[in-house]
């Protein structure tokens, strides 16, 4: 500190230095401003405010509208969250898949059903129960996540998940990583309901946006606790099912047409 004082006493501020400080301040202001503006514009949740249990984020999947051969939701998820599509992976069996298209067929009636399968964001998630470090956790707003700082890669959650929703990152990640979607080798990951978009205030997930853009409208994201939300209204009208309802896990993803 005394050295610094000495330096400032000896060397009076030069005009160049003043200009630099001015430019730097302006640049910093410019860099921060859009972020501040974005929060205000989109009404996202401020970082210092905890997620609220008044909200329960969830999704309605209308399997009757889910198109055969369409993979738009999967592609959108991969693009938004930065995981390599399985078709491009050198190790497909070890490649993470946050969402996948599942094709079902009744062997007796031959009836075929298409639907996307991903983390079901259980209210009673078995993955959270079994996680030794608490890295697997459920946010107050119902989103089930993995804390990448405390995940030790034991894969017990993968053993426990009835939906095969989780993947281990088996190898070093390439440069497709997204700044707001932390991922890492040796950690487990799964669908986050696009938590970064939700917290930003986008009000939708990448998969649901892609499904709507493709004109299928098979995916509807929203707050299941808000009786006035679109998803709550539709859930009241449409008969829906939970996958493996026998486990009584109270899922955040509900299916129509299965």
């Amino acid at each position: 500190m005394s050295e610094l004082n000495q330096m400032s006493n000896q060397a009076p501020a030069s005009p160049e230095r003043r200009r630099f400080v001015g430019v730097a301040t302006a640049a910093a202001g410019l860099a921060i401003a859009p972020g501040v503006m974005l929060v205000e514009v989109a009404h996202g949740r401020p970082e210092d405010q905890a997620a609220s249990s008044a909200v329960r984020w969830g999704m309605l999947v209308d399997a009757t509208k889910c198109a055969t051969g369409c993979n738009d939701c999967v592609t959108a998820c991969s693009t938004e969250n930065g995981w390599t599509p399985v078709a491009e992976s050198a190790h497909p069996k070890q490649a993470p898949q946050w969402i996948r298209k599942l094709e079902l067929q009744d062997p007796l009636t031959q009836m075929e059903t298409n639907l996307p399968m991903m983390c079901q964001h259980c209210a009673e998630p078995p993955c959270v129960d079994v996680c030794p470090t608490g890295a697997s956790f459920k946010r107050a707003d119902g989103i089930v996540l993995v804390n990448r700082h405390t995940c030790i890669g034991c894969r017990y959650c993968m053993m426990a998940c009835p939906y095969k929703a989780r993947s281990l990152v088996h190898e070093s990640l390439n440069d497709t990583q997204k700044p707001d979607v932390p991922r890492g080798i040796g950690c487990v990951e799964s669908c986050t309901l696009c938590v970064q978009k939700v917290d930003r205030g986008d009000g939708n997930t990448a998969c649901a946006e892609a499904c709507t853009a493709a004109g299928h409208d098979a995916l509807l994201f929203g707050d299941m606790n808000d009786p006035e939300s679109e998803i709550s209204k539709r859930l009241r009208e449409l008969p829906t099912k939970q996958v493996r309802a026998d486990l009584n896990l109270n899922l955040g993803v509900r299916y129509h047409g299965i």
Partner: protein, 400 residues
């Protein structure tokens, strides 16, 4: 009661150091295997997002289960007051600690982030069976360590029974915890049953005793000490009871599943259509692991030392096969999310998952076995764990 002289193994012969070096080499291979897996990630293993627990878990769980069982002999001596077993107790305790160490090392070195072990030691979720096991395993080291101390130090000998009883109860809870790692899993058909906890306990009795008998016989044969038939025959009979009990539990487990239609497909997979898993079940677990050892031990062959050793080795081989079927077989069968429907996807839904263990996985597992044996070999050199003689006359005196 006659007193027994315990003496260290001299451990200066070429044979001793060859054994020591050989085991050390496998420990080194294990360390290199871990380094390889840690550097490149699990991509270099045969494990994937379908078979998430592979060969290292087979070795780790087997060693942990066997560790608990290796304490049998010590427990019988102190908890159930059988003087004949008392001289056998120190080896039983050290072997149990060594096997536990080997198993745990394999388990933690197979973590996706083995560098974050400290996180597992500082962040706990008490609803997780894994967290419970962290405490059960740590407590096991403390209690069995204290128990061993009471056996070796005359000053604390009076606490031997208390320490032995505590260790006995603890290891029963511990193996309940190990079995419950699988028993508490709701997603897979072959898990999610309370049956797994007692089944793992009885398996631990059999595997642990088989390993103990082999180590005991080898230690006495290779050091030229006398090991009488009285000890061997008594322990052999005990092994018969344990192996028969394992068979009983396995039969009851599968018979119960076979009664329920919803389990027919997964049972058909393990018992009939599962390829390698079916072979490992019938030939490995049932035939090699149970039936053949029972035939050997109950027939006239069972009176010969060599055949008892063969039976023990078969029980161990069968035990590894059992772990492979229990851990990997259950994962190979696809999750049944939509019962009655045929599922297919890019994520291998609805198909039987294949698994080919890689070389690093094998050597990581073998490294765990090697470290367990290395610790035992070193311990009997530096500690007075083995009686100088266990001939029939000495043992007979103990009983009176």
């Amino acid at each position: 009661m006659a007193s027994i002289t315990f003496r260290e193994v001299e451990g200066s012969s070429l044979k001793y150091w060859l054994l020591f070096g050989g085991l050390g080499l496998f420990v080194l291979f294990g360390a290199l295997a871990w380094n390889h897996m840690h550097h490149y990630g699990h991509v270099v293993t045969g494990m994937d997002n379908q078979i998430v627990w592979g060969l290292p878990h087979v070795f780790a769980v087997f060693l942990i289960v066997a560790a608990s069982g290796a304490l049998n002999v010590a427990s019988i001596a102190s908890v159930f007051n059988k003087p004949m077993y008392k001289p056998l107790a120190p080896l039983s305790a050290i072997l149990s600690l060594a096997l536990m160490l080997g198993g745990l090392l394999v388990l933690v070195l197979d973590l996706g982030r083995s560098d974050r072990l400290i996180v597992a030691m500082t962040h706990f979720n008490f609803k997780s069976m894994f967290t419970w096991n962290v405490f059960l395993y740590s407590g096991f080291f403390v209690l069995v360590g204290a128990y061993l101390w009471t056996m070796l130090d005359r000053n604390v000998k009076t606490y031997s029974k208390t320490a032995g009883t505590a260790a006995f109860i603890w290891r029963l809870v511990l193996t309940t915890g190990t079995g419950s790692l699988f028993g508490f899993l709701v997603a897979r058909e072959l898990y999610g049953t309370a049956m797994l906890a007692p089944m793992f306990i009885i398996m631990s009795f059999a595997y642990g005793l088989a390993i103990y008998l082999m180590v005991l016989a080898a230690a006495y044969a290779w050091t030229g000490r006398t090991l009488g038939d009285a000890v061997m025959m008594r322990l052999k009979t005990l092994l018969v009871v344990f192996v028969a009990a394992v068979l009983y539990f396995v039969v009851v487990h599968h018979m119960t599943n076979l009664y329920f239609t919803k389990y027919h497909a997964v049972e058909a997979f393990i018992l009939r259509d599962g390829g390698i898993f079916t072979t490992l079940f019938w030939v490995g677990q049932i035939l090699i692991g149970c039936v053949v050892p029972l035939v050997i031990l109950l027939s006239k062959l069972g009176t010969q030392r060599t055949w008892i050793m063969v039976a023990c080795a078969l029980v161990v081989v069968g035990g590894v096969a059992q772990m492979y079927v229990t851990i990997i077989g259950a994962q190979a069968y696809p999750l049944d999310m939509f019962p009655g429907l045929i599922e297919s996807s890019s994520f291998y839904d609805g198909v039987v998952h294949s698994y080919a263990p890689s070389v690093p996985e094998l050597f990581l597992g073998l490294g765990g076995v090697a470290i367990a044996l290395l610790v035992t070999v070193f311990a009997i050199k530096v500690l007075r764990l083995l009686p100088a003689s266990l001939d029939d006359a000495t043992v007979a005196k103990l009983e009176h």
